[in-house]
Assembly symmetry: C2
Homo-oligomer: 342 residues x 2
C-alpha cells in the first residue's frame, strides 16, 4: 500500500524534540505554552504538511457535530421524509446528518450502531429493524453517554426518548371510515412481527369493529411481510377462502397495491365491490387507479420532533431529565378506493 502516511502531531514532536502533548497544546493555542514554541510548532506543521482535521478537533472538545440515523431502509418515502425533517432541523443548528441502513437485519443494525459509536456521533436516532428483539447494541450507546432516541419503531423497554405516531387512533379512524361507507366484512393485512406499530394498527382495527357491533373474523386477518407480492398472495388467499369480504384495510401501502392488482385481475371492482385502504401515504398511492385511501404518518413533523428532542438532551446533558415520549396525531386520507357511496 503505497499510500503516503498522513503527518501526525507525533511527527512534529519528533522533529522539534518536544512531546506530542506540547505540540497538541501549542496547536490549540494553550496559555501555558510559550509564543515561541507555538511559532515553532506551527512552522513545523506547515513544513511537513500536517493537517489537523476538524474531526480530531471535535474529539478534543467532545463534539463531532454529526448525528447518526439508523433506519431499516431509506427506500421508503416515510423513512426518507423523517430523515429530511431531522436534517432540516439539524442543519439550522450547524449539525450534519449521516444515515445508515439496517435492512431489517439484526446483525447489520448492531454493526451500524457500533460504527456510529466509533465515529463519535453526538447522537443516534433509530427506527428499529423488524428482527431486532435484543437491545445490547443500544445499551453500549447509552453507556457511552451518547443521546439515543427512537422513532416510529421503538424499543419499549429501554429508558430513552421516543417519538411515535398514534397508530391505534389512525387505524381506528380508517376502519370507522370503511364502516361508515357501508363496508361490513373488512379484512385486515398485518405483520406477524411483534413491533409496536403493527400491534397498535391491529388494535385500532379490532376496537373499531367492536365499537360498531361488528365481529372480528380471524379468517379475514392475514399476516405477511406486507410487500407488494405479499399483498397479491393475501388477496388470492382471501378469494380462495370464499369467506365474503367487501373491504381490506392493510397495515402497509405496498400490500394494498398488490391486493388492488390481484382483485382487478379477477374483475372485482374497487371501490364498488371491495374497498381498499393502506397505511403510509407512499407517493404511489396517489397514482393508482383508483387512488388509495391511506394514513399519512406526518413524517416531516416526526423528524423535527426527533431532532428537537435530541438538541434538548444535548443542551441538558448530565441533568436527569425525565424520559419523554411524544405521540403525534396522524392524518387519515380518504381517496376514491374507499368511496362506496360518497
Amino acid at each position: 500500500m503505497g499510500k503516503k502516511e498522513k503527518a501526525t502531531i507525533h511527527d512534529i514532536a519528533t522533529k522539534l524534540g518536544i512531546t506530542a502533548s506540547t505540540v497538541s497544546r501549542a496547536l490549540n493555542n494553550h496559555p501555558r505554552i510559550s509564543a515561541k514554541t507555538k511559532k515553532l510548532v506551527n512552522e513545523a506543521a506547515k513544513e511537513i504538511d500536517y493537517k489537523p482535521n476538524s474531526f480530531a478537533v471535535a474529539l478534543r472538545n467532545g463534539r463531532s457535530k454529526l448525528i447518526g440515523i439508523v433506519v431499516p431502509t431509506v427506500n421508503r418515502n416515510f423513512f426518507s421524509s423523517v430523515v429530511r425533517g431531522i436534517e432540516e432541523f439539524a442543519n439550522e443548528r450547524d449539525y450534519r446528518v449521516i444515515i445508515t441502513q439496517s435492512y431489517d437485519d439484526y446483525e447489520k443494525e448492531k454493526q451500524t450502531v457500533d460504527a456510529l459509536i466509533d465515529a463519535q456521533v453526538d447522537g443516534i436516532l433509530v427506527s428499529l429493524g423488524k428482527t431486532t428483539s435484543r437491545h445490547q447494541h443500544f445499551k453500549k450507546a447509552i453507556d457511552a453517554g451518547i443521546p439515543l432516541i427512537f422513532f416510529d419503531r421503538v424499543a419499549e423497554n429501554l429508558p430513552v426518548g421516543q417519538v411515535v405516531i398514534d397508530d391505534y387512533q389512525a387505524s381506528f379512524k380508517m376502519t370507522e371510515h370503511l364502516i361508515k361507507e357501508g363496508y361490513r366484512h373488512i379484512a385486515h393485512f398485518n405483520s406477524p412481527v411483534p413491533v409496536n406499530i403493527f400491534k397498535e394498527r391491529y388494535r385500532g382495527y379490532k376496537e373499531a369493529l367492536e365499537t360498531y357491533g361488528l365481529s372480528v373474523d380471524p379468517r379475514l386477518i392475514l399476516h405477511s411481510n406486507l410487500q407488494l407480492e405479499d399483498g397479491r398472495d393475501s388477496a388470492r388467499k382471501l378469494l380462495d377462502r370464499k369467506v365474503p369480504f367487501d373491504a381490506i384495510f392493510s397495515a402497509s401501502d405496498y400490500s394494498i397495491v398488490g391486493a388492488l392488482q390481484e382483485l382487478k385481475k379477477h374483475g372485482i371492482r374497487v371501490p364498488e365491490d371491495v374497498g381498499l385502504a393502506g397505511f403510509g401515504n407512499e407517493p404511489f398511492t396517489e397514482f393508482t387507479d383508483p387512488p388509495l385511501s391511506t394514513v399519512d404518518q406526518v413524517s416531516i413533523p416526526m423528524g423535527q420532533a426527533v431532532a428537537k428532542m435530541f438538541f434538548d438532551l444535548l443542551e441538558n446533558q448530565g441533568k436527569a431529565l425525565p424520559v419523554q415520549q411524544i405521540v403525534l396525531s396522524s392524518e387519515v386520507i380518504f381517496r376514491a378506493s374507499t368511496r362506496k357511496f360518497s
Copy 2:
C-alpha cells in the same frame, strides 16, 4: 454541560509521568516500549476507564473502514438502489457505508463532502447535485488522497473514476420503440440543467427521430424540473399549444405520471391517443393505469460497479492507475402505455 470528560492518553501520560507518545506506543504494543511500561500503561488505562475507540485506531492505521456516499436524495428508488448495491459489496469486505444527501443544493453538497473528509472516510462516492457547477470541494478530497468516484451524475472535468449508464442508447431505443409502435409526433420532457444524463437523454431522442426521418419540433420539447407537478404543467402547455402530438417521452418518471394524470383529466386515452414513456423505472410506474414504459437504470449493478472500482483503487493506492469510466447498458421496459398496436 455536565458531560463526564472522556479519558484520553494524555490522562494516562500525566498519571504515569511519561509522554503521551509513549502511552500511545505502549497501547499499540510498539517493540521499542518495555514490557514493564506496557503493563503500567494498560493498568492505568483500565483504572481511569480509558477506551480507545476504533475510530482513533483507524486514524492511526489510516483506515476507518467507512465509505461515504453523497446523493441528491435517498428518496428516489434509483439512488437508494445504487446505495444498496454499494452496501452489499462493501459489507462483504467488512466496510460500512454512511449516506449523506445534498438535496441538489450546492452549499449542502459542499458541507456534506467536508463532513465526510473530516470523518476520515476511506472513500467518497458521489452523484452530483443539479446545481453543482464548481468542484473545489471535490478537489479537497482528491488532495487529501481520498479515493473519489462519481456515478450517474458525474463531473466531466475531474480526473476521477466514473460509472454511468448509457443514457443516450436507452433514450434512442425508447424513442425508436415509440416510432415503431406508430407514434409520429413525439414530445420530449427534459431538464434545462446541463448535467450529462439530461444532455445524453436529449441526444438519444433527437438522433432516433433523425434516423427515422422525423423532424425535431422545438415546440414539442419542454424543459422543467421534471417533478410530478412539472409533468402536469408541461402536458397542459402541450395541449394549449395545439401542436399535434401523439406521444411523450420524458427524461423522468415523475413528470410522465403528471402528464398521465393531466391527459386523463382531458379525456385523452393512453396509449390509444397518446403514448407515454418515462425514465428511471420508479416502482410506481408499474402501478399506474396503464402501467408506464420506462428505462431501468440497472441501479444494483451500478452500485456494485462503483464499489468494485473503489476497492480496486484502495488496493492499488499510490500506484498511477488509469482513470476508469464504466458505461453500463440500461434496460428499456415496454409496458402498456406505449402499445399503440401490439
